[in-house]
């Protein structure tokens, strides 16, 4: 069992703050059949509270199966709000949050990813009394994706649940609107309709767990790939706790 939590991070911060260069390595042995070595990035005093600190899941417990190759479990800490706790697998090379606090929605992406860059995954937990349906829209830009084109994309039986799937295209700037064309394509135009604007594509999945909507949203990179596998792995691995 590996468990890394607040004291470790705090201690790492303390050491960093003392001006001593240090690298902390975690070696997780599962009995010899595999060995994972991951480096904990040393936080510095300049890192604001709440910034991503580590590429290692903050809490990992024994009741989860080993993650798929290239992935790591992210397990939410507890929270005072009664929000659903969960575990989900995300690419091990992506930047993960510190895990000190329950953050919702939770965003995962490679370090240096911009706002509309991909690949990126967002997991959102939304109380059903707040949003009736398609809660994933709440994490889309432009006020629930009001200028995006969103389309239903069937269902997926990821994990133990049946997820509703969607695809979307959104403009990468506010003063623009995406709309479907007669041919079924999507065009995104500037506010003066003089020129196309850049846009980004994504996928979303949603399922109801108890009194919460669980939404997983993927931003795809311009190449159209790179987030598909993490998206599908997130769906398959999502585990309420």
């Amino acid at each position: 069992m590996i468990s890394i939590n607040r004291p470790l991070i705090a201690l790492a911060g303390l050491v960093a703050a003392s001006g001593v260069g240090i690298g902390v390595y975690l070696v997780a042995s599962s009995g010899g059949d595999e060995e994972v070595i991951q480096q904990v990035a040393t936080p510095t005093p300049s890192v604001p509270l709440g910034s991503p600190l580590s590429s290692v899941s903050p809490t990992i417990t024994a009741d989860l199966p080993p993650p798929a190759a290239g992935y790591v479990w992210y397990v939410t800490p507890s929270n005072d709000l009664g929000l659903l706790r969960y575990a989900v697998q995300v690419p091990s090379l992506w930047q993960l949050p510190s895990g000190l606090f329950y953050s919702n929605p939770q965003y995962f992406a490679p370090e240096g990813t911009g706002t509309f860059g991909g690949p990126a995954i967002t997991v959102a937990i939304t109380p059903v009394q707040s949003v009736q349906e398609e809660a994933f829209r709440q994490v889309l830009p432009w006020q629930a994706g009001s200028t995006c084109v969103v389309r239903a994309a069937g269902q997926s039986s990821g994990g133990a649940s049946s997820w509703r799937l969607f695809s979307f295209t959104c403009p990468a700037q506010e003063s623009a609107v995406c709309r479907p064309t007669d041919s079924g394509a999507v065009e995104c135009m500037s506010e003066d309709q003089a020129a196309p604007v850049s846009s980004f594509d994504g996928r979303a999945a949603e399922v109801l767990v108890g009194s919460f909507h669980v939404s997983i949203v993927a931003y795809l990179p311009p190449s159209g790939s790179g987030a598909d596998a993490p998206f599908e792995q997130a769906i398959a691995s999502f585990t309420p706790r």
Partner: protein, 493 residues
Amino acid sequence: MRTVYIACAAKGIPNALLALLILAICIGFRAGSVARVDASAPPCNNYYSDITPPENIGVGLTDPNNRNRVLDAVYPKFKDYVKDVVPNEWYRSDWEMGAYEAGALAVKTFGWYWVNHDRGRTALNGKCYHVVDWTGDQVYVAGSGTPGSPNAHDHALKTAYAVEQTWNWLLRSGGAIYITHHHSGYSTDTCGQLWGSAAPGDDMSQWGSAACAVSYGWPKTTSTYYFPNAAEPGDHIYGQWHATMSRGGTVPFTPVSVSGYTWKPRLFNGCGPPSSPFDYGAAGDIKVVGDWDGNGAASQGVASLHNGFIHWALSNTRGPSSPSYEFDYGSYGDIPVVGDWDGNGTWTVGVYGGNTWLLNNYNAPGPPNITATWGSGSDIPLPGKWVATAAPQPMTIGLVTLDSARGELKWLQRFVNALGGVDREFNWGASSDRPIAGDWQGGGWTQFGPGTVSDYYPPDCGTSSQPNQHWTQKYTSGAGGVDNQFRYEFVRP
């Protein structure tokens, strides 16, 4: 069983410190405690009202380099939040005031909705919030709505004015605050045009609102965009309704303030408690006061929006009572007004929509007796008796607008209820003041003077009620100083 090894590749660390480090980690593993959020952070899921706006709103502050990361949360006063959003969403400085007023209502209602319906959002530091500070919800820049502040936009004066003057109004659907989405739209959008995938009735084009504002005021604009979904657009709200009213004889008009549906008249123009509060109407009704039966004393009335029309319920009895008159007059998009249009001593109904006044000499349905085109849609209608004479005179049309060059209220008065020029024009009051008018002197001197009500900090009156509403009065219309001022009634800022 898995084993955890920790290897330190460090230089210059004493063994004792290294041992302490490992010990601390081990203790940490056992403790397994969860970090708690700053205790000063307020909860986000403990408020719901369709009448009274929240006192604060939680705003998630995003990482400018990646807006998907919410680093922290702040909790500004709700009105300040609205002021600091409108200039960033209605971002053009050359639009008509009606567009900013429609935007102020949309921004306020959108933020309020998410306070009512907390989405369980928390920042990376664990603090809860209701909305983010970028276009995922609404763009918020602290200070940008305060004219003259370092972050202020050059049109902050206009947008702050728009927020103040529409603060007593709200948008509801079926009696509930609802999601008033808004987005830029296309610069070619006509009034009512909307692109995008949002359902009609819960979304407004900012460019489209600007097109509306060329001809219409905010009521028509918001009704145009939100009407399909809003059974009751433009409800009047809670306890920020203020006016003054005659109590009969020759005594001056004195304040009346309404909280929800509790009417609180004041017998004197000075600090002190209300006199004999009473209930009348519903919290969402639009409030009016007037002398409906011509007996010289004013009493209360309400107007509500019903089936596309304005439904009036006026009582001749000041106090709890049944309506003396009930009828429909006017329609959605109109602002109710009341006055003695023919000078016979009886106050009757009217509406102001766009730049058109439709005034009725009877408290009954029917075609208007007086139709006057005067003003612009974004002006605040404020009729009164404007001529300096003790002789009987009708109430005539008047408007208050923003003098953006001077940051003051500009009063425009017409001495007849008819198309024509401006008979009197003057500046009086700050742009953040809410205008009122009344006969402050009484004694047979019937001319109305201007007045204002504004928030005052800190509340102080030397009484236990600690009012924070600052009332000012000027006895005659025209530029000049304040003749009387006092504080009366507390309204949560």
